[in-house]
């Protein structure tokens, strides 16, 4: 079933939470809303669910305008960041609650709950109360409640954010499988670019109440239409520098520059963006450009070294595999992979990548 927003605007008092947004989400796929807190992800999901009414514009479910339709008639399910379960119901009753409201037969309820519980490894917990479960199990229960319903639209609002690292990885791997052969459109909000890439599907990058781009997740990541999208879809933050193009040569400053074969670009100044993992401590190819900078901060994250450094007053982030001993304050060499640079022209639109 297709899910479309047509010129949706949401204002609360004098604040605009969602600016004129039109998007058609892809059926039977993960549609990821990626953006920082307050980007409008939750508001957009609540508009889709019908928990909020758009100030103007329309919400369409499968060729039907559902803008004024209340949430309980839209056949959606919603999983919140904070695990929401009915406190004095057992896990079984919690999962069964949407079916009970919909007046399913007893045998039907038992069969459906059993199947979903099996899928989410909740079968041994069915008799317990939510307060006796771990965070991961509580969130699984909430997920089971969303799954059991066979909703047309499943909205997952940062469902993994409150779980610890290990559980998060585990559930993230399972999630796409859970929805694999279901006829439903999944909308998944996250603040983490890596999560978006791991889940795949389609992605809408959001910034301050606007969708900056929508498309296949990998494509949005590789070819962001504008600088803002590139910024939203990068963690650690993407490096941005002003460069000037003069007769086939980009110049970063007086010393650093590189030749380019891109014929479609006219001479002038551009904003160049390059992801931190293409600025490394060791050259990755013969195309690498050497940058000398003073180290500001060095941190280890897992098996990677993230180094913040400064070149001519402009700060950069480098992300290299392996663990390196970096001295703060020392001038160090970094290598920029020039083939991975993206160039943005007027209005920060992508000109070349």
């Amino acid at each position: 079933m297709t899910l479309a927003l047509k010129n949706v605007v949401k204002r609360v008092g004098a604040d605009t939470h969602i600016y004129d947004t039109s998007v058609e989400l892809v059926s039977n796929q993960f549609n990821i809303l990626l953006g920082t807190t307050l980007a409008g992800k939750t508001t957009l999901m609540q508009l889709i669910a019908g928990l909020e009414k758009p100030t103007s514009g329309e919400v369409w479910f499968g060729g039907k305008n559902v803008t004024g339709v209340p949430v309980q008639k839209r056949n959606v399910s919603y999983v919140h960041q904070q695990f929401i379960n009915y406190p004095h119901f057992s896990v079984f009753e919690n999962i069964a609650s949407p079916l009970r409201v919909a007046r399913f037969s007893k045998a039907d309820i038992e069969q459906r709950v059993g199947r979903v519980a099996d899928l989410l490894k909740l079968t041994p917990m069915l008799g317990r109360n939510p307060s006796e479960l771990s965070g991961g199990q509580q969130q699984r229960t909430a997920l089971a409640r969303a799954l059991v319903k066979d909703a047309d639209v499943v909205l997952l609002d940062e469902p993994l954010a409150n779980l610890d690292y290990k559980l998060r990885e585990e559930l993230r791997d399972e999630l796409p499988k859970l929805f694999q052969d279901r006829d439903c459109t999944v909308v998944y909000a996250t603040t983490e670019p890596i999560e978006a890439l791991l889940l795949g599907g389609y992605c809408a990058t959001m910034n301050e109440g606007r969708i900056t781009q929508f498309g296949e997740t990998a494509a949005v990541y590789r070819r962001p239409f504008d600088l803002l999208t590139a910024q939203v879809f990068s963690d650690p933050p993407i490096n941005i520098a002003e460069v000037t193009l003069n007769d086939g040569r980009f110049a970063l400053n007086d010393q650093v520059g590189w030749a380019t074969a891109r014929a479609n670009l006219t001479n002038g100044s551009y904003r160049m963006a390059v992801r931190p993992h293409f600025v490394t401590l060791e050259p990755s190819s013969e195309d690498s450009i050497k940058l000398e900078g003073q180290v500001l901060v060095a941190e280890l994250s897992g098996s990677e070294s993230v180094v913040h450094f400064e070149v001519d007053g402009l700060s950069w982030v480098s992300q290299s595999p392996g663990i390196h001993a970096i001295e703060v304050g020392k001038t160090t060499e970094f290598y920029l992979d020039k083939t991975q640079c993206m160039y943005f022209g007027e209005n920060d639109q992508l000109m070349a990548a």
Partner: protein, 287 residues
């Protein structure tokens, strides 16, 4: 494991021990002392054993006032708890009206008990009181100093007016602590308002309501000042609750032995009911 004992620590609890001794233990033991002896003044005591307890437990007068007390407490709990929850549910959740409502709600709680009694006494007077006059004006004969039913009606109404606010404030605090997400989840499931109340609001309010019921039980079971000022226990003995009866026995008749025994029985009833109720309510919480 070697356990080191610091005898010095006793010095630190000494002030508390002294304080508790003076304001609870010694008065309580004095009552125990009176409850097993007969005295004719001049500090001359004769041992009586459990005679006073037997007397009190077998006295029809005690049974009658205990029954009145239980009825009164039962009635006001049955009115104030549901009414308090209902008012809390209708109060605004946000906006400028929240503080206005809260201040209005808190007002009856700020009035001294004897003032409440005096206020309602005048308010309910059949000839000049606003309430009494209005009821009589409707053609219903009403005189709380003469009719037992009218006296009960006025006392219950006064207590509801005075104390429902406490339940409202507690229930409102409980309601406010429920995250908005719960209501959204219920909406998505298609739950009706009644189901939301039964399955989300009520379970989430369980703790505060337990406290509210306990407080209202204790306070109403020991009520003295307001009915004393309003009806003086009358007409006849119709509103003579336990504490009013106790004061009559102790200070009116100066029967210190039976009064002491009665106090202890009274105290044990309150303690027992609170303990049983609290244990029952909190049974699942501890799991």
């Amino acid at each position: 494991m070697n356990k080191t004992t610091y005898q010095k620590a006793w010095f630190f609890v000494l002030p508390v021990v002294a304080l508790v001794a003076f304001n609870a233990l010694i008065p309580l033991m004095t009552v125990v002392n009176y409850s097993v002896q007969e005295t004719f003044g001049d500090n001359v005591f004769f041992w009586e054993g459990v005679k006073w307890f037997e007397d009190v437990l077998n006295s029809e007068r005690f049974h009658a006032s205990l029954l009145r007390q239980l009825m009164f407490t039962g009635i006001i709990l049955a009115i104030e708890i549901p009414l308090g929850v209902a008012i809390a549910l209708t109060m605004p959740k946000k906006g400028p009206w929240v503080s206005v409502c809260l201040v209005f709600m808190a007002m009856p709680l700020l009035i001294p008990w004897n003032v409440v009694g005096a206020m309602w006494n005048i308010f309910a007077l059949p000839d000049i009181g606003l309430l009494g006059h209005a009821i009589n004006g409707m053609g219903i004969e009403y005189n709380f100093t003469r009719q037992p039913f009218a006296a009960w009606f006025t006392t219950v109404l006064m207590d509801v007016w005075h104390w429902t606010s406490l339940v409202v404030l507690l229930a409102y605090a409980g309601l406010r602590s429920i995250p908005e997400d719960y209501y959204q989840a219920a909406k998505i499931d298609g739950a009706k308002p009644w189901a939301v109340f039964l399955h989300i609001q009520l379970p989430k309010m369980k703790r505060v309501l337990t406290i509210a019921i306990l407080l209202r039980f204790m306070d109403s079971f020991m009520i003295y000042t307001e009915p004393f000022v309003l009806t003086g226990g009358g007409p006849g003995n119709s509103t003579t609750f336990l504490s009013i009866d106790l004061v009559k026995v102790a200070l009116g008749q100066f029967d210190l032995g039976p009064a002491a025994a009665m106090s202890l029985i009274y105290f044990l009833i309150v303690l027992l009911v609170c303990w049983v109720f609290y244990t029952l309510m909190m049974k699942d919480e501890d799991q």
